[in-house]
Subunit: 238 residues, 6 copies
């Protein structure tokens, strides 16, 4: 049984579902612990269906989105935490970054997942990336004794954005999610406000599954998720 | 025990020693099988000390280089094969690439290592890369039934060149070679014609060990080798 | 009515169908003329289903592939021509490039489409790119009077490869193929040897349609194809 | 007649003249509407000649620069608006970005032009780019119903910087400004504070005209302007 | 005798020693003047050994680090100045950048050295780069008369980071530091808090010396330092 | 007086004039020796005006081009040599590369100039680059005793192509050619077959002069040429 800890940080509460829920499910299925952190609920910019209802309010949207994300996280065996920093624009300041770093020091994740550095279609995703990257470095320090509490450096990967080639995203890891795909489907179906994305991300899973089959020649792979690992992987053998 | 097969292809008979002997030793120590293929002996361009002897001939240089490479390969548990295609310039034609592809179809390696695509300091390294990349694709075909014999696609990585930043080399994998470092030292010391490189590559192993410690926070790592993985890694979990 | 001429050059006879048939159909629907050139039939490496039949021969595969490509081209209003240069490996020599250049001088295309420069999954696609790029330059010359026949320089774009991020492909043009999508489906269904690709490329068309909707906000777009324009677009106004 | 709307945003009041006045003139000549927004007057850093006068003040420089920019905008058929945020350094904060986004929501431009993301010679140009990119995304939202007012996503291009290769600028669009070049000359001549730039940008127009002739073989092109389109162009046919 | 002025700006007080002390010593040995500016003391994150002592305080660490840096600067003939802005995180605001620009206007350096723009292992190095790049541009203005005091534009290079390939660092200049290497050793030995780095950077000096020998064929070079020049070098002849 | 030796290799006999004649003149003015090598005469593709004459032949074009290049080389103090390998396409084979390497071994240049690696507008320029890069490496060997004659490694730079951003050309060196500009003008005027390029390259010299003034703040620079240095510059001090 794995005892690895994974932390997934999204700009909005639903981001982790579409892009990394399969990897979370693989992780927890292997015995690992996972926490999903949402910097905001995506309440203003990414809650399409909810804003079509007359008389909708931000507070109500947040409440619904919190419940949905909690349910989705549960479907893949993860805990959900929200920082409620606001969206469109998300602008994590010094205090928010410190809070995130404190969460990292406490949880001491082995692997951290978030958005890529660049996204010409979304103002909040790069803001989330920058906050996570900074908090992660403030967590580990320079690898020597420090004047502040530290936790060991984690692996650091970014998940797939909506239009990968335009975000500088190059897949370097495909996670085979065939065995846990139904869990990802369940997590996605919890996201009522963005139902239109479910087919889109089912297709992505098929597409990356196809890619992973091509890379390996392993015809048993059906669905996969793509990640870009930002720091070298340290291994005992190839 | 691993039953993985590794093939390392170098432009010259000594290339594998400096850059990948540690990874070979880790591989064979874990029970894997390894073959080292030399496209040439580096007889004209990379046999410094030998050419300082008066009356030296190409044939004699090749004989010595063959023996040295065989000994070095043995020190890390690998078999050595030479194609003797000539160096400075190395120019693998259609026939040589077919021969290499046939070796790959026979051996069916899980992982293939060679030089990076670009090297502004050496004319033979990019030629070797191109030949290996092409032979590898002619080996696996397109992943469907073909009009020729195939073997499954292998993982494909390049080892570290002399001046990495100028060759477009970006390390994405560090192999911890601490446990097998003495074997690498033994392999290096078999290379009499290039003794001046032994200190240089000891330092490289220390340097990449330092980098791998920084990445992981694992103070037990002493030496490492750096590789650039060219195709996504397909994994079951992060 | 447009009187523009489009030339699409693929390494294998079916390549144009999956990646550019929609753009061809839009072009001919607008009154333009289109010719599809296949450098090879993909007879050895990309004719999966056909090689599963016992007693299959290269000649028979070529015959079938020719008929399929002709039918597919017809479905999108294009003429089909084959150079039959052989595949896996495709290696267009001086004579083949001259022949292609002569075809370009005769047809004088306004726009040329082919594979990207790089593809780590296919040895023939980059070979095709290099041949087309060279033939195109030998066609137009340097824009001054020459010692050989010329045709005006064409627009030059590459179509989407199988794993775009790993081929350096960055979409700079999305063609809205919603109105002609049934023609593309018909062209794809003509390719009996690669039926397994039809669902895959239906999904790609949906995906790029989704991307194009996001770029424009135009909810009327259903399917699209992605292209990477290699030379600046010259326009009269933005 | 076009009914497209173009918004050009410059860090300093004269920036649009040198780099995009031709494209603005083509746009308005075709019947389109254009507005030029200046984030600052370039009063401290880019008003060379004016500061050579003894007793010069910032307020006076701003007044002169406003009049010049208004006249130049008029010469190419555009309206001029100034945000007067200060220069050297220009640092658009949350409020300024909101104001810009409100202008975009009101005007609903089809195309937005600004500086490239990077410029090692000017501290204000990248600041302007970042502000425009963010305001543009806050204008369009995520393409679904939102908790704030939106306008459809615009095309997004950057104009040519002073030393393009050092700014990551790669031309992907040349606009043929031959027919409106006299208007651009008139706009440039309105900029008394930077007269030394007029010859420089006449030469640029000739140079890009030469490039556009080479790309197309169209000898009728005399002057052009270069742009880098940041998001894919969605078209009905190639 | 040279009368050139060099300014080296580090995020932490010891940064200049490891990466640029040799170039500083060459500069002062040739008669030039050098000033080292430390934005912080690295008191929280980079003072390993000092924090192992029980009862250590930030103020005491700063005092020790100041003395060490002063001694190291002296060993290579430079003056040391500290801005004491705090580290982990270093966040130079408007005021700090103005202060740095004022120092640059007063000293009018011919060459400025600092960290690369990117460093996935250290949060303070990119912050230092951004501050220096901005201060440098606010110092020189746009090369015309300005509404503020200016100094001529300096050459601008970045020194080698810990893991160069992962920081986008590409060496474009090697400085031969063989003649002054003992001075660099002396400067390094002044840094008691980071003794573990001395062997590491001795090896780096050997490695870059090896690279510089390879580039030139000059066997007299023993140690070198690597730099990445960010702006073109203007010369009278090649 | 300098005793450095410069070799400039162009695909066509006139290439060196437009792009590097100023740097050659600076070099010879300082006492250095320079040789210009033309791989072809550009007789088929780049001799515009000559082919407008009725009854023109390749042999006659070559004769005229040889005389023009000799005259132009003389104007900047260089010797001219032609390999007459043919153009459009230029395809230097093994023998031609050996011949070029032999010339390099004999002349032992300190600096070599040629075309960039990539040019989407000209098929011969990249072919020339590849030949020169290979010949240069076969000249110097690996920096150890070899089985063939060697000469020391030279500095290696590429000159500016027609549309630099599209060729991956990034200027890293500007040579101030103000003092020798009349010699460059004289060399350009020797090229009767390409008179239309003279104004174009006068403007380029002004443009790069403007860029070099901006980089240095030195208002004395009037004209410059831009180069991209491919290998690190080894210097004694910054």
């Amino acid at each position: 049984m794995s005892n690895r800890r994974m932390m997934v940080v999204g700009a909005h509460s639903a981001d982790f579902v579409w892009r990394a829920a399969g990897a979370v499910a693989c992780h927890t299925a292997a015995g690992g612990e996972a926490v999903v952190v949402a910097l905001s609920y995506g309440e203003r910019g990414e809650s399409g269906k909810l804003w079509e209802e007359p008389g909708q309010t931000e507070d109500n949207v947040k409440r619904i989105r919190h419940a949905e994300a909690e349910k989705a996280a549960g479907a893949v065996g993860a805990r959900f935490e929200a920082l409620d920093l606001g969206d469109y624009p998300l602008e994590p300041g010094k205090e928010a970054i410190d809070r995130l770093a404190e969460m990292m020091r406490g949880f001491a994740p082995n692997v951290v997942l978030t958005h890529p550095e660049k996204d010409p279609f979304n103002p909040d995703h790069p803001a989330a990336h920058a906050a996570v990257a900074k908090a992660r470095l403030l967590t580990s320090g320079a690898g020597v004794a420090s004047g502040f509490r530290t936790a060991p450096p984690s692996e650091f990967l970014v998940f797939e954005p909506h239009q990968p080639e335009l975000c500088g995203f190059v897949p370097t890891v495909y996670v085979d999610i065939s065995a846990v795909f139904e869990q990802k489907v369940e997590a996605m179906s919890a996201m009522q406000a963005q139902q239109y994305l479910q087919d889109y991300y089912r297709q992505r899973a098929d597409q990356r599954g196809n890619h992973a089959r091509k890379v390996t020649g392993d015809s048993g792979i059906r669905q996969a998720e793509a990640f870009h690992r930002l720091l070298p992987n340290v291994v005992g053998a190839l």
